[in-house]
Amino acid sequence: MKARIHVSLKPGVLDPQGKAILGALESMGFDGVQDARQGKLIELDLDDDTDADTARARVDDMCRRLLANTVIEKYTIDLEG
């Protein structure tokens, strides 16, 4: 089973990387981009024998304890396969 975890900054937290991307795109002549944000995508390969609910609970635990800093970040979890 695969878990895809998307970690991104909470709304309201200034995103220097996103801002730099936006600025760079503009100066490269790409107009029509209104906003850019950069987050992380962490992919985990999990043992296949875990059921989806247990897996989700464990990945959620991983996120809270390590993968995301909930002071500034939020996360979503997708399970596949």
Binding site: A20, A24, S27, M28
Partner: protein, 730 residues
Amino acid sequence: MSDAKITPEIVAEHGLNAEEYARVLEIMGREPNITELGIFSVMWSEHCSYKSSKKWLKTLPTTAPWVIHGPGENAGVVDIGDGLTAVFKMESHNHPSFIEPYQGAATGVGGILRDVFTMGARPVANLNALRFGAPDHPKTRHLISGVVSGIGGYGNCVGVPTVGGEVNFHPGYNGNILVNAMTVGIAPADRIFTSQARGVGNPVVYVGSKTGRDGIHGATMASAEFSADSEEKRPTVQVGDPFTEKLLIEACLELMDTDAIVAIQDMGAAGLTSSSFEMASKGGLGVDLALDTVPMREAGMTPYELMLSESQERMLMVLQPGKEHVARAIFEKWHLDFAVIGRLTDTGRMVLTWHGETVADLPIDPLAEAAPEYDRPWEPTPAPAPLDPATVPVVPWTEALTRLMGSPDLASRRWIWEQYDHMVMGDTVQRPGGDAAVVRIHGTDRGLAATTDCTPRYVGADPVMGGRQAVAEAWRNLTATGARPLAVTDNLNFGNPEKPRIMGQVVGACQGIAEACRALDFPVVSGNVSLYNETEGQAIPPTPTIGGVGVIDDLDRMATVAVPAEGEAILVIGGGPADGWLGQSLYLREIAGREEGAPPPVDLAVERRTGDLVRGLIQAGRVTACHDVSDGGLLVAVAEMALAGSIGATLSVDTTPAALFGEDQGRYVVTLPEAEAASLLADLGGTARRIGVTGGDALVIGADSVALATVRTAHDGWLPGIMSSTPGRS
């Protein structure tokens, strides 16, 4: 895979010509399999075998009473007193950095660090000599930003300060930048490690990161001329992991404190192949390796891939029998892979097995001895037409100075070195920005000074003189801090040596380097050669970078470039009233847009006399600041001292371009209290002349002046200015 038929195409792809392949067949007595062919190919690549340059490298002086290990080891080792040694080397990562600037530069730093700590030294300083294309070339800014963040990204993380280097810009590097990285380390004199394998039956141990498919054929790539289709070779880029390197440094140094290690060798270019070959060959032994026991990152790897992979952060060691557990415990503590992958044998052969089956069996000595060595045809570089002084335009000195100080080759590099942690380890006594960086020898009041230097425009015009000049400037930069220059490492960057004109540059530069090293007692203890630096037939300017290291016995007697106080006398030591060499000068290039003439001559006897004199003055505490005169000439040197100290100067000198901006060699500017100037001048006789006095916030000559603030804006503003425009990846 080992059954693949060896076709002429496959041989050619491995970079071996027909003659070389015939020698392979002779040595093997049969057709090699693909793994064996791969091994020959990397061992005989230009990068590993130095086949075009060996003949000339042998002409460099490599000994002195203080040299403990000269070229031939992973890094040079010189005695610095108190039972300690300085261990250092420079290495290029030019091609990888052009393809992927961040990772190319980062792994370049990683590689040179390993060369140094392999010998038992703790790395204490990193330097980097960089050459980029024209500032306005569409790729340049992307390359600068990638290379600088890559060097910082790696060096900062491993916690070794990056304290110095140099940067030049020239359209000749548009398609082929140069990234030369240097590391200086310190090791106890009685505990130097080498790669010479000893002891039949001793375990051969692999430590560090796992092996992946990184950079397979990287070594061959570094030896092949670039072409537009090099995009194809992109997957050969390796990714560095500085965190693992940091752990590897600590683990290796910890193990080195025990008596477990017999020999150790980092896995650099050509990875497992060249490391195991070199160790066995130096010990006159054979080696059996069970390749299936190599820690692997990916499934399905073949013996060929394992032998050719250039995965980073790996080391090979021979251990004392029975010490495996000591080593394993240390590497496991540091979360690094550890595996016994083979044994030393007395067969003189390298035998590789894969799950018990032999997949390669080659003789070591014949392969090493038969490595091709070429006496490539060469043509001396024709002497350039002398510059006609009457054709040199004269612009007001105030304008010329401001333009020069803000020109690509002279502008401040602060934007670069502020991205490097240049203070970690708590011993950086002279930060970047001076003549040489100085790091304190930990726990003492002594220091090591280090610098890198080369003036490619001089080498291009006259390789012999340019080679001399590069060594002389490194020696001068060390001297200007008060250091006693000890030895150099060199990084010879040139185009395609199969062209006699290029080979002539190699030969000429080696001759000049050898002359200067001999005259200055400044031997070459390590180095690296990077050839085939060409794009679409266009060679880079010849760039034999010199890295110099010296020792300061008392840090209280050290000089810096900053003007320390108002009202001090300013003296020039060396040179004379007839100074004014504008051939190949930056004045000519930046103001007149011309690169012409012969470079300034370097008189090695005078160089040595002047330098020894200046060093004596610094050590005697008779001068308060010192800076050598190099690119841009006398007024630029004074301006740099003024900016560093934020104190201006009033000079009484000729204001001709020749007098102010001539690049005559062997000169130093010093300051000292006014009251002591007369007696010093009397002592020095004709070798010194007084040119002015410090003070104020401008540079003044006669009725004209330019505010320091104006000079500073030009000097500090140029690099951030170009880098703040579009960061595109293009």
